[in-house]
Symmetry: C2
Subunit: 245 residues, 2 copies
DNA sequence: CGTTCATTTGAGCCGACTCAAAATGGGTGG
DNA sequence: CCACCCATTTTGAGTCGGCTCAAATGAACG
């Protein structure tokens, strides 16, 4: 297991202050003035770790804390009446989990680890106290929610307008960009999710996802070996998947 | 124009306090304690009116205020690089507009009136001041954003999983339910949007939307006359469109 | 009453799904 | 280290739903 070493986000030491965290430029405190960042930092519970497959939050459960992934990746999904999974998206380091819980104080979807994963926690009690006196944090949390909303809408638009290849291309381009923002390679990465997960996320079947990848491979846009992806022509993917003004 | 009289939400008198507003049980102040509601009310600019087709907010424009529709309905959309509209959804009375603007302080999509429409406005300056001292309002705004996010995700799931008839059924069931919550008839209503708008919202063509409606009519679930809809078997629509736990 | 736009209906085609089988790779135990 | 086993992924053949293009009908407005 230690030889894989390809998991998303470095295997960070368990306890690090935000100041020394590799995610500093991306994570919540990034846009906060110094004192606010310090106040927030004091409320953060760090270094929780879980194994692949473990569920971080469950639908219906009260939202007791704001969770932010530190390393590893996770799958956000909900289960339909018929028992099938709807995959809403994938969570990368520095991203918050379960924001839609603000709606009712309870989570409405499940989030489970795809790899060994570590995360930070801000208990809601403390968060609310902090929101009382930190205007920057207020703005930051609103920004976070607004961003999530914007992203969800953008994604919906993608589903509505693109065909299978377009969706897969967009998925790869988006993932690539998010990895780059975390200082990881945008062209060489290992998918932590299965074809079936990708398919359920994009509203396709796993065969169709596989075929799309094969097409890209044949066209010379990608190298694909199981879950290892090398992007050879990012522009081509972006052109197919892009589409938004 | 006055003889149509079918527009969504009554033609409210221009200036009404929140206390006397027909939307009181749905709108923002509904969940606020008395003093907070009063404080918010003092910041609200009421009774702005626009004609059909007028754009309320434009993509790229700074988010200068929080807008809530009072009467009438609107279309949220964005324009892709190719010049086609992506319809994100439709706004009913009591619903806020442009929440995704919290992401960057600028709107990312356009909202334009589908009927004569009136709305209320809370300037962002004042809103931020209020958020400083009203914990209930803080929670309420977060709830609003969380709800919008949850809804966007649910919709994405619907797109990913349902076929054409399922999407149209879900659209009607959702609209019906939202109208009911506003004290309007859930079974008799007039669509304020075109088939093309519905189609672009659901990721279909207008012909397919029309065919789905015709099918429902043939099965005896609906009566359809142009944009006037009578729902005869709500359960049937809900069964087709539902699907989420 | 005529014009114009929105909606409905029809025919044919293409892409994505379904079902089925082969191949690949990762992990395990000898 | 190698052979085996299992799950995942790839590939193939055939079907069906939704798209495209085109025409007809219906509604709204001057």
């Amino acid at each position: 297991m230690s030889s894989r070493g390809q998991q998303i986000g470095s295997a960070a030491p368990v306890c690090v202050s935000c100041r020394d965290c590799a995610l500093k430029p991306i994570c919540l405190p990034a846009h906060l003035p110094g004192e606010e960042a310090r106040a927030l930092e004091a409320a953060v519970e760090r270094g929780r770790q879980v194994l692949p497959g473990v569920t971080l939050v469950r639908a219906g459960e009260p939202m007791a804390a704001l969770l932010v992934v530190r390393s590893g990746s996770a799958k956000r999904y909900s289960v339909t009446l018929e028992g099938t999974e709807q995959v809403h998206g994938f969570v990368l380091p520095g991203e918050a989990v379960g924001l839609e819980g603000f709606a009712s104080g309870r989570y409405t979807c499940e989030v489970s680890a795809l790899e060994p994963l570590s995360y930070c926690r801000v208990p809601m009690r403390k968060l609310e106290q902090l929101l009382e006196r930190l205007p920057g944090l207020r703005r930051e949390i609103l920004r976070l929610l607004g961003q999530a909303l914007d992203e969800a809408q953008r994604l919906r638009g993608e589903l509505a307008q693109s065909d299978a290849r377009g969706r897969v291309a967009h998925f790869l381009a988006d993932l690539s960009e998010r990895l780059a923002r975390r200082g990881l390679s945008p062209t060489e990465f290992r998918l932590s999710m299965s074809r079936a997960d990708i398919a359920r996320h994009l509203g396709l079947t796993l065969e169709t996802v596989s075929r799309a990848l094969s097409t890209f491979k044949r066209e010379g846009w990608l190298r694909v070996r199981a879950r290892d992806i090398s992007v050879l022509r990012p522009e081509a993917l972006a052109a197919l998947g892009g589409g938004c003004a």
